[in-house]
């Protein structure tokens, strides 16, 4: 199949082409289509660009290796977001464990009180959109994990409630509830920005 024809195919058709004929070009097109949305999603979830790129690459590798496990009854986007979400969650848990260990080790060696740096933002330092983005990201990281995921998928990735429900494995009602709670938490954290 020619390159032009492949570009005209939907995600589901591309993965089927990759499954049936092992057409690597189909996989490459899927990578091109999803690398940026997934990077954005994973970055907002993890808050770290390097880890985010690693997670997205792992996601693509999983798609490549386990292409046969995809079933055409599901949307490809749902499948790939689910993989990325799970890998991001694993990364977050690994990071939490690492943080706990490093804090313990620090306390043991020095046997002194130590201060965790205060990362709270100061409204007077908000000058441009870059910093504002950073503040929002920091606030995002303080929102509960499940609420954060739902808010990112809805308000940043602009997915439908049904797709989010499929990705998170919960009902649409729960999705809506989590989104609202996440928004409420975020609004509370960012109230200084809106007061300005």
């Amino acid at each position: 199949m020619s390159d032009r024809n492949l570009n005209g195919l939907s995600d589901e058709e591309l993965i089927l082409e990759f499954q049936n004929n092992n057409t690597e070009r189909a996989f490459e097109i899927l990578v091109q289509r999803y690398k940026n949305p997934l990077t954005n999603f994973v970055f907002r979830y993890l808050g770290d660009y390097e880890s985010c790129v690693d997670v997205v690459q792992e996601t693509m590798i999983k798609v490549y290796r386990y292409k046969d496990t995809y079933q055409s009854i599901a949307k490809f986007s749902t499948w790939i977001y689910t993989i990325a979400g799970n890998l991001a969650k694993t990364e977050l848990q690994r990071r939490k464990r690492r943080t706990i260990l490093s804090i313990n080790a620090f306390g043991k060696d020095n046997d002194e009180n130590y201060e965790i740096p205060d990362e709270n933002y100061r409204p007077d330092t908000i000058t441009d959109s870059g910093i504002k983005d950073e503040i929002i990201q920091k606030a995002f990281m303080k929102v509960s994990e499940s609420y954060r995921k739902a808010v990112i998928l809805r308000d940043i990735q602009e997915l439908s409630y049904e797709e989010i429900a499929d990705i998170m494995g919960i009902t649409v009602g729960t999705v809506k509830s989590r989104i609202n709670r996440g928004r409420a938490q975020l609004q509370k954290l960012l109230k200084n920005i809106y007061n300005e």
Partner: protein, 215 residues
């Protein structure tokens, strides 16, 4: 249930802010790196169950745990009370049966004379109960039968005759089966001289009484 449309209005600002956030992009060399990783097989191959199981990091702790369990089992087993083997335990002693020792057996001559005497009297034969071995025979006591089968049977004294049906005295006669002494399950107790003398007296009285009754 929450009204999500109202909430959407309420969170308009935050939704707007989130939508305006800068969209991040993957690095320029993303695809090249990815294809390099795929082609070089850098990604970890999924290990099979047995490969995972036989990893030293898993095998050593599990082996140590198993060893500890075996040690604990043996320690507990040593400390536990030994279980009584029902086949090796001696039978329980029966409190209600007491055998007297050194009860003199009536000589055969006496037995024979008694038999003759009884046969001469021409009295009816009475059913011979079974006596325990090593005590006075029923024939001697009863004085009514000349049957030789009962000559080796004995008599046992147990407790008191509460209703005085036999003698009006304090002793009671109980009859047993012809079982060897060694096979019996009774308590052997050594009697004092006084006790023996008392038993002998009681025996004599009983014999006399039986004779009187037979007359």
């Amino acid at each position: 249930m929450e009204n999500f449309d109202e909430n959407s209005q309420q969170y308009n600002d935050i939704i707007k802010t989130l939508k305006q956030l800068q969209k991040l992009k993957a690095p320029a060399n993303f695809e090249a790196d990815l294809m390099r990783r795929i082609n070089s097989g850098k990604y970890e191959k999924e290990k099979k169950f047995w490969e995972k199981f036989l990893l030293p990091s898993r095998l050593i702790p599990s082996a140590a745990l198993g060893l500890a369990a075996v040690i604990v089992f043996f320690v507990l087993n040593i400390n536990s009370a030994p279980v009584e083997n029902p086949l090796l335990t001696p039978p329980r002693v029966r409190e209600d049966v007491v055998a007297t020792k050194n009860i003199p057996v009536t000589p055969k001559e006496t037995q024979e004379s008694l038999k003759k005497e009884n046969s001469n009297n021409g009295k009816e034969k009475q059913p011979a109960p079974f006596f325990k071995e090593g005590t006075k025979s029923y024939a001697e006591i009863h004085g009514t039968t000349g049957d030789s089968e009962v000559s080796n049977l004995g008599i046992t004294f147990t407790g008191e005759d509460t209703d005085n049906t036999l003698t009006g005295n304090t002793s009671m006669v109980s009859f047993g089966y012809p079982i060897n002494k060694s096979g019996l399950n009774f308590r052997n107790s050594t009697l004092t001289r006084e006790e023996r003398a008392q038993i002998q007296m009681m025996k004599k009285r009983l014999i006399e009484m039986m004779k009187q009754l037979n007359k």
